[in-house]
C-alpha cells in the first residue's frame, strides 16, 4: 500500500527552508484562488508558479504523479458529466448525448483545479516535516487557546496520527493477506457481503491500534511528556528576511493574477 499523505522528502531547498507558517498561509490562499480563477490565462500563470516551486524543491515528478493517479478515475468521471450536462452551444452529439463548448471548458477547468490542488497540497507535505507542519498549525491557531481550545494537544494528536499512518496501513495490508490466506474474499459479492468481509480486518486492526496507543502513552510519559507543561522546540520557527519577502511577494502576486486574468477574454 502506497501512502503519500503526510510523506516527507527531506531536503534543503528554499521551499524546504521557508517558514512552515508562511507555506501554510500561502497554501490556503493558493487553494482559494484556484476556485476563483475564471480564465485559462489565470491557470497558466498559477501553473507556472507551481512549476517553479516543483523545480526549486527538487521533488521527483513520480511522487507528484502518484498522488494524481489515484484521482484519475474521479477526474475522468466528473469531466464527462461536465462535458455532457452543461447547457450551451453544441460541440458534437453521440446517440442522445450532446456535448457543449461550455461543457468542454467546465471539464477542463475541473481537471486543472483538482490536479493543481493535489500537486499544491502534496508539495506542502513533501517539503515540510510533519512536526513542522503541526507546529505551524499550532502557532497559527494559538489565539484559539484563549477560547480554551486545546491547540497544543490537538497538534500532538496530529503529529502522532501522521506518524502512525504508515504503521497502521502496513498492518492492514498484513492482516488482509493473512485473512486472504485463510480464504477470505474481499473482491466479490454484494456491497453488503463485501462490507461484512471487512469485519475480520477491522477487529484485529482496532485491537492492535488500542494496544499501540496504550504502549505509546506509557512511552511518552516515560519521556516526561505532560500536556500541561510548556515545551521547547528543536527547530525554532523564526521568520527570516527571505520568509517576509516570499510572503509579501506572494500576497501581492496571487491576487494580482486573479484580478488581472479574470478580466481577459481567455
Amino acid at each position: 500500500m502506497n501512502v503519500t499523505l503526510g510523506q516527507y522528502f527531506p531536503g534543503h531547498s528554499l521551499t524546504h527552508r521557508t517558514d512552515p507558517r508562511v507555506k501554510l498561509v500561502l497554501e490556503v490562499l493558493f487553494i482559494a484562488e484556484l476556485f476563483m480563477v475564471k480564465r485559462y490565462a489565470g491557470f497558466l500563470l498559477m501553473g507556472a508558479l507551481l512549476a517553479l516551486v516543483v523545480h526549486n524543491s527538487k521533488i521527483p515528478l513520480w511522487a507528484l504523479w502518484r498522488g494524481l493517479r489515484r484521482l484519475l478515475l474521479i477526474l475522468a468521471f466528473t469531466s464527462l458529466l461536465n462535458l455532457f450536462y452543461t447547457d450551451g452551444r453544441e460541440l458534437f452529439t453521440i446517440w442522445r448525448l450532446t456535448a457543449t463548448w461550455e461543457g468542454l471548458h467546465a471539464a477542463l477547468f475541473t481537471i486543472l483545479r483538482i490536479s493543481m490542488l493535489i500537486v499544491g497540497t502534496s508539495l506542502l507535505t513533501f517539503t515540510t516535516s510533519p512536526i513542522m507542519l503541526t507546529d505551524a498549525l499550532e502557532r497559527l491557531l494559538a489565539p484559539l487557546k484563549k477560547l480554551r481550545v486545546p491547540v497544543g494537544e490537538l497538534a500532538m494528536m496530529m503529529t502522532i496520527a501522521l506518524r502512525f499512518i504508515p504503521v497502521l496501513s502496513e498492518e492492514t495490508a498484513k492482516i488482509m493477506s493473512a485473512q486472504k490466506a485463510r480464504g477470505a474474499d474481499f473482491e466479490s459479492g454484494s456491497v453488503f457481503q463485501r462490507a461484512r468481509a471487512l469485519i475480520p480486518i477491522l477487529v484485529p486492526l482496532f485491537v492492535s491500534a488500542f494496544r499501540r496507543a496504550d504502549e505509546l502513552a506509557v512511552a511518552m510519559e516515560c519521556r516526561c511528556y505532560d500536556s500541561a507543561m510548556p515545551r521547547s522546540r528543536l527547530k525554532e520557527m523564526r521568520m527570516k528576511r527571505a520568509d517576509y519577502l516570499i510572503l509579501t511577494g506572494m500576497l501581492l502576486l496571487i491576487p494580482a493574477i486573479l484580478m488581472g486574468t479574470n478580466r481577459l477574454w481567455i
Binding site: 506518524r163 504502549e215 512511552a219 516515560c222 516526561c224 515545551r231 527547530k235
Partner: protein, 283 residues
C-alpha cells in the same frame, strides 16, 4: 559508588485483580550505580511489573522504591525520577512519537523545556552514541528493526539518564538487529557509565551482564554474577529457564565426567574444558 535503585519489601498487586499472591512479593533489591544487571524469569514472573516500578510508571502497593534516594511516591519529583531512569520497551514502533528520527529524539528534551542549542546538542550526542547520526533525517518507519530500537534508545539517552531500564529490547528483532542493539546497550554501560537494567529471554545477552537476577512468581529466586547463576543449571531448569548453550552442554556432560569444571560460561571456555578432558581420557 552508591545505589541507583533500592527497593524495600516492594509489594505490588494490579488494581482490580483478585486477591491472592501479589505480582511482586516483598522484593528487596539494590542496584549499584554503573552496574549492568540482567533480569531473567519465565512468562508472568513479574519482570515488566518490576521494571515499571523503577521510574514510577507504577507505584508500590506496599513497601518502598528509591531512585537515586528519591522516593518514587513523591509526586513533586516525578520528572526528576523519569529523567534519571529511562525506559525502553519491546516494540520500537510504539515508542517513536515523531516521523523523522531527529525530531523523535528531541521529544524528551523538548518536554523538559530545554533551550534549543541544548536540545540540538543532546540529539547529536544521543544519535552518535547509538551510531545513528547519519540517519537523523530519515523517516523512522523506513528503518530496520534494530535501527528503530536504537533510535528509541537515543530518545531515552537524550534525557541524559543515569540509568536505563530495557524490557526485552531485542525480543522483536532479527539476529542482526539483536546484535546491534546489545552492542549499543553495552557501550552505554561501559563507555558512558550508565547503569543498565535489562530484561531478556536470551541467555547469551545475560552473560554480558555483571549480575543476573532470576525472578519467579513475584520474588527474586536467584541473584549473582552470571558465572555463579548459570552454574546452577538444575535450579534454573526448575524455574523454567535454561543455561546458555555452552554451560548447558558442560552441565550434561558432567553427569558422565564429573571432573569437568562447573562454572563454564562461554564457548571458548567450553572448548578449553573439553580439550582438557579429551587429553585426559586419551591418556
Amino acid at each position: 559508588m552508591g545505589e541507583m535503585i533500592q527497593t524495600q519489601r516492594l509489594t505490588y498487586t494490579y488494581p482490580g485483580s483478585p486477591a491472592g499472591d501479589p505480582v511482586l512479593n516483598r522484593i528487596d533489591l539494590t542496584v549499584e550505580k554503573g552496574s549492568f544487571v540482567a533480569i531473567l524469569g519465565h512468562n508472568g514472573s513479574g519482570k515488566s511489573t518490576l521494571a515499571k516500578q523503577f521510574n514510577a510508571v507504577l507505584l508500590p502497593t506496599d513497601g518502598k522504591v528509591y531512585v537515586d534516594r528519591i522516593d518514587t511516591v513523591d509526586e513533586g519529583r516525578l520528572f526528576d525520577i523519569r529523567q534519571r531512569v529511562g525506559m525502553v520497551f519491546q516494540n520500537p514502533d510504539n515508542q517513536i512519537v515523531a516521523t523523522i528520527v531527529e525530531e523523535d529524539v528531541a521529544f524528551a528534551p523538548e518536554n523538559l523545556n530545554l533551550p534549543r542549542e541544548e536540545t540540538a546538542a543532546r540529539v547529536e550526542y544521543a544519535l552518535r552514541t547509538v551510531d545513528m547520526w547519519e540517519y537523523r533525517e530519515h523517516q523512522a518507519h523506513q528503518l530496520s528493526g534494530g535501527q528503530k530500537q536504537r533510535v528509541a534508545i537515543a530518545g531515552i539517552i537524550a534525557m541524559k539518564p543515569r540509568c536505563i531500564v530495557l524490557d526485552e529490547p531485542t525480543a522483536m528483532l532479527d539476529p542482526v538487529g539483536r546484535r546491534e542493539t546489545l552492542a549499543a546497550v553495552m557501550r552505554l554501560n561501559r563507555e558512558e557509565g550508565i547503569t543498565v537494567i535489562m530484561i531478556t529471554h536470551y541467555m547469551n545477552e545475560a552473560v554480558e551482564a555483571d549480575r543476573v537476577i532470576v525472578m519467579d512468581r513475584g520474588r527474586i529466586a536467584m541473584d549473582g554474577p552470571p558465572r555463579a547463576v548459570f552454574a546452577r543449571a538444575g535450579e534454573l531448569e526448575r524455574l523454567g529457564l535454561e543455561a546458555p548453550q555452552p554451560a548447558a552442554l558442560i552441565h550434561r556432560l558432567r553427569r558422565r565426567f564429573p571432573q569437568l569444571p562447573a562454572d563454564v560460561l562461554t564457548e571458548a571456555e567450553a572448548v578449553e574444558a573439553l580439550s582438557a578432558l579429551l587429553a585426559e581420557v586419551g591418556r
